[in-house]
Symmetry: D2
Subunit: 150 residues, 4 copies
């Protein structure tokens, strides 16, 4: 993921993504951080935290979705022009397997980057005893919001 198939419109995308990510209070509260970042691609990491589980002690599907949504959003954002803001239009999450693990990885990539809309795909992986298992996938649509002309 150090190189990428995409050419970013904003050469300073790395700083822009990390700065915006740091303003997402939800990421801090859930212990999510950026593990890797390239143009059009990102990986987020999250430890298991009992505070965000469902009734069987597994990570809540909505919490996985929170990380997947931020991953898709910042993969999309990394390709947008410097003045754009990013907005989630919709996403779908499929829950493939129980989210049981010590920590979790979320990998998103841009599938199609347009002027207004960006399509992304992402997967969530549970990591336990060094082994990685795919537990969820997301398909998402993001939108670039440009500042109004003055």
């Amino acid at each position: 993921m150090s190189s990428s198939a995409f050419t970013p419109k904003n050469p300073l995308f790395h700083a822009r993504v990390t700065e915006s990510f740091d303003r997402q209070r939800a990421m801090h509260s859930l212990g999510i951080h950026i593990a890797r970042l390239a143009a059009g691609e990102i990986e987020l990491a999250m430890p298991y935290d009992e505070a965000f589980t469902q009734q069987h002690g597994l990570v809540h599907a909505g919490v996985l979705t929170t990380a997947l949504d931020s991953a898709c959003g910042y993969a999309a954002f990394s390709l947008m022009p410097a003045e754009a803001e990013v907005l989630t239009v919709e996403f779908k999450t499929s829950l493939l397997a129980p989210a049981k693990g010590e920590r979790f990885a979320f990998r998103a990539r841009v599938v199609k980057s347009g002027r207004t809309l960006t399509f992304c795909e992402a997967s969530a992986f549970a990591i336990e005893a060094g082994a990685e298992k795919q537990v969820a996938t997301m398909s998402a649509t993001l939108m670039a919001m440009m500042p109004k002309p003055t």
Copy 2:
């Protein structure tokens, strides 16, 4: 929502739903509680909490989704037999408007209840100065897991 079009298989569904909901640590951590419950229908309530916001101070789309997923899950669960467990298969969330409000309501209802699969729909509403605005919708598939015969 005090009455409902559905006949629950488990007459004690109310106790069963609330007990399972109370075991969802994520609900406690996000401040979400059950506001209303009927067979096949539920309403959850959540206050605004800066700790779970995105980069513009609005509630993170994944946090709305966490509440919508639990709402769909427990609407489905309320119609399942006493020995079943409920599992989310997949959901799609559409973000209709910025999630700006003092508190939020999440209303889910069962659209089709089958032996194995249940389809639900849910909406999220932001409440500000007494006015309510629809900010997101969810369409979800849930699955009943029956205990293995011994």
Copy 3:
């Protein structure tokens, strides 16, 4: 459905929708026509046709989706300005029950109409011996394409 909660930007939306619908060759080939039309709402009708079935003789889920997509598209289009074109961004279809019927109705309505994006919901109903049964639902995102300034 003769009145509606929406105010169309184009007072001649009825002519515009029917004219565009008539250019959809797929609608003719599948025998689909407009049964009702109001601002932000539409109903399409389709007879059962063995030529468009799956392996058990039921209407193919993709054919139901074709009608649901056109229904969502034209519900959205009815609220767009006269110079806009409509484009489907994405949709999700849930298959609630076997699509067994003599004919089918597809009802779509706009949930949120924005400048660029419109969110719609639609349902498919199978009609047999005068009884109507909901067999599928769609949640869709549509986009208004405005002509490039010259």
Copy 4:
């Protein structure tokens, strides 16, 4: 696609898939055939046909979805036991680019195969002057229906 990461439960899956596919009248009507088949993977092919276009002469999104749904269904079916039937639960289609081409390819693969549910992903490609372009993606859930015990 001649080999595959999956071990089919039914060694005669190839005959089973092609036989069921041949019973899908919609595939014949749309001119869709199987181009390649392996355990858990399939490719379908479709020529451009003006009869199934939308208002701008492009292939209708619902027609692409019909092919993608059959592709996902048969990718899933290829891994199911001999006595199972396959049913679509839900799918989401994202429309990445205008479906403009002389012919189209639809590639589906199983992401997760469970006893009851199978998750698949598929892509649609437009082929024009020898060049291939991704125009749509699908994420789908399929269900195995087992015969009732007698």
